[in-house]
């Protein structure tokens, strides 16, 4: 396998990463599998009740309003199944997080380095799994402390400070937006540290979680603004994709079989686009890191590796100069 390092800007690299259709397909199929697992408790219920009574008829003809009276009675009658489906979806979501932690280990090694096989992908994914889990265990409490603490503290302070200010006072609005913005920035910063800590294994395959966090911190030093801009770009893009996808899927009346088929296609497209955004974001982050990783590692006094991992036997490397 020949690995190449290509010159690139961060955003452009992100879009270039979308050429890895197999990776996007992997994320999409994983999402679909998890989604179907969660939908299974309801599938049997829908089959029995919708085909056995006129409820399904009413739902479809009244979409997207779900024929409210039927919806209420169906929800009451099938509360157990719906509750089960919700819990399954929650569990599937948690499983999904663990799966993406696994995938991230492979993504950070292979992305932006030319074509790769699934073998090239899954080996580093397996190797980096525990490292990524440790990074997650550092990230989640930090999120609770810093972001949760920020929102909790800011809201409590606002309540006290603006007790006598009228509801429409500009100061209240400013405080609310500032709280939200800073909270988002805090989340973005923590998210970047988390992702970059995982990506440290791209440059130092044996680096531990705590050193990886220090690596991420050093990489971001002096470039926070640019990094947060990258984060914001992909975050907003992803949110837009989800929002538009959900809106389109929900609002499409879809009564005829062709319309229902179109609905399914829209669903797949929305999930595929969201998966692509995830891959694109990684591509951007790794391009951002590639130009800074060396100096950050040197500063950590970690054993410097070449910008690419040690070659497998039989592999050759070439490096194209800018």
């Amino acid at each position: 396998m020949t690995m190449t390092i290509e010159p690139r800007g961060s955003v452009a690299s992100g879009f270039r990463a979308l050429r890895h259709g197999k990776l996007i397909l992997l994320l999409l199929l994983t999402t679909l599998a998890l989604g179907w697992i969660a939908a299974m408790p309801l599938a049997a219920v829908f089959q029995t009740d919708f085909t056995g009574t006129l409820v399904g008829d009413h739902f479809v003809r009244n979409a997207p309003s779900l024929a409210p009276t039927d919806f209420v009675d169906f929800y009451e009658k099938k509360a157990d199944a719906i509750h089960g489906a919700r819990r399954t979806a929650s569990a599937a979501g948690v499983l999904g997080v663990l799966i993406q932690v696994f995938f991230a280990g492979g993504i950070v090694v292979v992305l932006g380095r030319g074509p790769f096989s699934f073998g090239d992908f899954f080996e580093p994914a397996r190797r980096n799994l525990w490292h990524n889990v440790k990074c997650l265990l550092l990230f989640l409490p930090a999120l609770a402390v810093f972001v949760g603490g920020w929102f909790g503290g800011a809201l409590a302070a606002s309540h006290k400070l603006f007790e006598d200010a009228p509801p429409e006072a500009a100061s209240r609005s400013v405080a609310w937006w500032a709280t939200l913005l800073i909270g988002l920035l805090l989340f973005g910063a923590l998210s970047l540290v988390y992702d970059f800590a995982r990506a440290a294994r791209r440059y130092a395959p044996a680096i531990g979680a705590f050193r990886a966090v220090r690596f991420a911190w050093r990489v971001l030093g002096g470039a926070w603004l640019r990094a947060l801009a990258l984060f914001g770009f992909w975050f907003v893009l992803g949110a837009l994709v989800v929002g538009l996808g959900v809106g389109a899927v929900w609002l499409l009346p879809a009564v005829s079989p062709p319309a229902i088929a179109l609905l399914v296609v829209l669903q797949l497209a929305a999930l595929a686009l969201r998966s692509a955004v995830r891959v694109g974001a990684w591509g951007s982050y790794l391009a951002f890191l590639d130009s800074r990783a060396g100096s950050a590692l040197a500063a950590l006094d970690a054993r410097r590796t070449v910008a690419i991992p040690a070659p497998e036997p039989g592999l050759t490397f070439s490096r194209s100069t800018p």
Binding site: A38, T53, V60, T88, V242, G245, A270
Partner: protein, 721 residues
């Protein structure tokens, strides 16, 4: 009590009784509603001067009350409501029952948040009575409760006599809690003065003997008082904008303060508000301009009355808006006009000259959504709710229509909100739904008309609430007697709407409309009971409605018609030896295989396929009420039937040349009271058996949607972790 000689007192009392009686029974109903002079029996006459002290949130008041005994009893004691004492401490009946939380507010979060009222002087005909007065707990409620004051009189008030009282009081308003109070410089002043209770004579509301109906202030109760006149002078610092019940007749400035005087006849309560920040909008309801097209004709048709008899009166409306809610102005204006039009056309013209609509601040919403005579508080005008896409949520309109509706149900039809909350809240809830449907279409509840038409219609909302709440209590129950806040809510609001919708469907739109109008007309400015409601409806409809009362209003009966089974199969062909006109034949699998005569096989007529369909419908509920049934066959034929009266189940057997496609009971949802719609139908088989139904498609569509949304959830978690 008067100092005139005893004989003269009794003569005056007799004259008063004659006048009272004449006014009660002799005045034509139309004149009672549209006359400018007082038309109700004037039991009470309040003259109050009150001063607001904004710094310490207190009121100082001087009240003169003339109370006219409406009964033939000599009344030795008076009873007063001191509602503000419900907010005095954590041990009042209201606080204990509510757990200190009401309408989204928490009581007493700071020492200055409590409220109370002290009567420093109470004189009857010059005799000081405050020292002999005592707090009583008429409902067997908490001994700490001070919301009812009993005042023994030195001399009883003679039958149909009167007594004049002079009362001095000092009150502290609570921070907005349970409809009343302050937040910053916003004041909503309701239930703020010593208010005399209602002395019900024998025969009124089924009473066997006369007595006071003056309950403690419970967490779930509202109010009950007699009709009469209010003349109130409100003094506030100049910077305040004031709104109140009634018509403002004078405004006097002196030493940095302004005194506003308001007068209103034919009402049983008085509320007011003050806030320096109000944006004032004054507009009129003009009957010639503001009645939506087609409404008069529709009302005329439903009521069977000529349009000329549905004439409405102009109303001067004053809207007091919060500065941050300017976007809500037009919505308040249009919904107020629509309300005046609807209620006036269907029940009777709004008789008062004025209406004040108050928009509370976002942090004072506990004072919103409330009704007082000629004075309502709105709500849900938060700036975030008046911007796209939430401006499509019709919260402002629903609250305005609902609170205006209370001018009729409670304001003019003065039912007892303590003992029969359904008579005002429930009937008004139904009227609100009908008004909203007329003005904004059927899908108007809360989440209305988002792109794509996502919305709930009013009936579905009520049905959902009914289903979601344990069916522990009947509709007719005193407010504090319900098992929980939840059962109080469902029985006071949506179940009444479902009951009235059921009644309307069964009686017909026109009969129902006429009966309800008659109920309003006959009981305006009086105090009806549940029995009075049913008496009017039975008289106008000509039907015995006892089953509705017994099962739906006084009981907890359910109605649940369902399709228990539906089958269709090809009828087994004839087999064996048959004597036909053409001779004896032997049939095997429906085909002729032998003859007992010279006739040939060709002479035998062809036997078409016949199907035997069997449908069993049953009522799993305990209310004995029928339902329509519809059977639809694959060839498109439709058979409609109605279950016989009193049937608990009915089996339909049909021999027909086509398979049964589906069967449904109450397919057009005429039985609003039906508990469960999911079991109302059965689709027979799949494919051709489900002719023209879309169940299979629905199953596929919603399964894929469930999978999709679950996938989206996974993707969102990926983005966050």
């Amino acid at each position: 009590m008067s100092r005139t000689p005893a004989l003269k007192r009794w003569l005056l009392a007799g004259l008063g009784a004659a006048v009272l009686g004449a006014r009660l029974y002799a005045a034509p109903l139309a004149a009672r509603l549209y006359a400018a002079t007082p038309v109700s029996p004037p039991v009470i006459d309040y003259t109050i001067a009150v001063s607001l002290n904004p710094a310490d949130k207190t009121l100082d008041g001087q009240e003169t009350l003339i109370w006219r005994n409406p009964s033939g009893d000599a009344v030795p004691e008076l009873r007063f409501h001191l509602y503000l004492n419900a907010f005095k401490n954590s041990r009042t009946t209201f606080q204990r029952e509510s757990g200190g939380v009401s309408r989204g507010d928490e009581a007493g979060t700071k020492p200055g948040d409590w409220g109370w009222i002290d009567v420093s002087s109470l004189q009857a005909d010059g005799v000081e009575l405050s020292k002999k007065s005592r707090f009583v707990q008429p409902d067997g409620n908490d001994s700490d409760d001070q919301t009812v004051l009993a005042v023994p009189l030195p001399t009883p008030v003679p039958p149909h006599g009167s007594v004049t009282l002079r009362i001095a009081f000092h009150a502290k308003l609570p921070k907005v809690f349970a409809r009343t109070g302050f937040v910053r410089d916003f004041f909503l002043v309701g239930q703020w003065f010593p208010k005399i209770g209602v002395y019900e004579p024998a025969g009124m509301r089924e009473r066997k003997t006369g007595g006071w109906n003056c309950h403690a202030f419970h967490a779930l109760s509202e109010f009950y008082a007699d009709f009469g006149r209010f003349d109130v002078a409100i003094t506030v610092p100049d910077r305040f904008v004031v709104g109140a019940t009634g018509k403002r007749i004078s405004e006097t400035k002196s030493a940095g303060k302004t005194t506003y005087r308001y007068v209103q006849d034919d009402v049983h309560d008085f509320a007011w508000t003050a806030d320096p920040r109000y944006l004032v909008t004054e507009f009129a309801f003009d009957p010639a301009r503001d009645v939506p097209q087609g409404w008069t004709a529709r009302a005329s048709r439903e009521l069977g009355m000529p349009e000329a008899e549905l004439a409405l009166k102009p109303v001067a409306v004053r809207l007091l808006l919060q500065p941050g809610h300017a976007r809500a102005r037009d919505r308040y204006v249009s919904s107020t006009r629509e309300s005046i039009a609807f209620f006036g056309l269907w029940f009777g013209a709004y008789p008062y000259e004025t209406l004040t609509v108050v928009d509370p601040p976002d942090d004072g919403e506990g004072a919103g959504g409330m009704e007082y005579p000629t004075f309502i508080t709105g709500g849900e005008a938060d700036s975030s709710l008046t911007r796209w896409p939430f401006d499509r949520v019709l919260g402002i309109e629903i609250v305005t229509v609902h609170e205006f509706g209370h001018q009729y149900w409670y304001g003019m039809v003065g039912s007892n909100e303590f003992e029969e909350p359904w008579l005002d809240e429930g009937i008004n809830d139904d009227s609100e739904r009908r008004a909203m449907a007329l003005a904004y279409g059927p899908r108007q509840r809360d989440v209305a008309a988002f792109p794509g038409g996502v919305g709930f219609d009013g009936m579905a909302f009520r049905h959902g609430w009914y289903r979601a709440t344990p069916n522990l209590d009947p509709i007719h129950r005193c407010a504090w007697c319900f098992a929980s806040t939840g059962t109080w809510g469902v029985n006071s609001y949506p179940k009444v709407g479902l009951f009235l919708a059921q009644l309307q469907n069964d009686l017909g739109v026109e009969t129902f409309a006429r009966a309800q109008r008659a109920y309003f007309q006959e009981w305006s400015f009086r105090h009806p009971s549940t029995s009075d409601f049913f008496r009017v409806f039975e008289r106008v409809s000509g039907r015995d409605l006892s089953t509705y009362r017994r099962n739906l209003v006084e009981g907890t009966a359910k109605l649940d018609w369902r399709v228990i089974s539906a089958r269709t199969r090809r009828e087994r062909p004839e087999e064996g030896v048959f004597d036909r006109p053409s001779g004896r034949v032997t049939l095997e699998d429906g085909e002729v295989v032998g003859f007992g005569s010279s006739k040939t096989k060709a002479d035998e007529p062809e036997r078409k396929k016949t199907y035997r369909s069997d449908v069993l419908v049953g009522n799993a509920g305990d209310w004995d009420h029928g339902a329509p049934v519809r059977l639809v066959f694959e060839d498109g034929r439709v058979i409609d039937r109605v279950t016989p009266a009193g049937a608990k189940w009915v089996r339909y057997r049909i021999r027909y040349g086509s398979r049964l496609a589906w069967a449904a009971v109450d397919p057009d949802r005429k039985n609003a009271w039906d508990w469960n719609r999911v079991n109302d139908s059965k689709v027979v088989g799949t494919g051709k058996g489900a002719a023209r139904t879309l169940g299979a498609r629905a199953a596929a569509k919603y399964t894929s949607l469930a999978a999709f949304f679950s996938g989206v959830w996974t993707q969102i978690l990926w983005a966050l972790a």
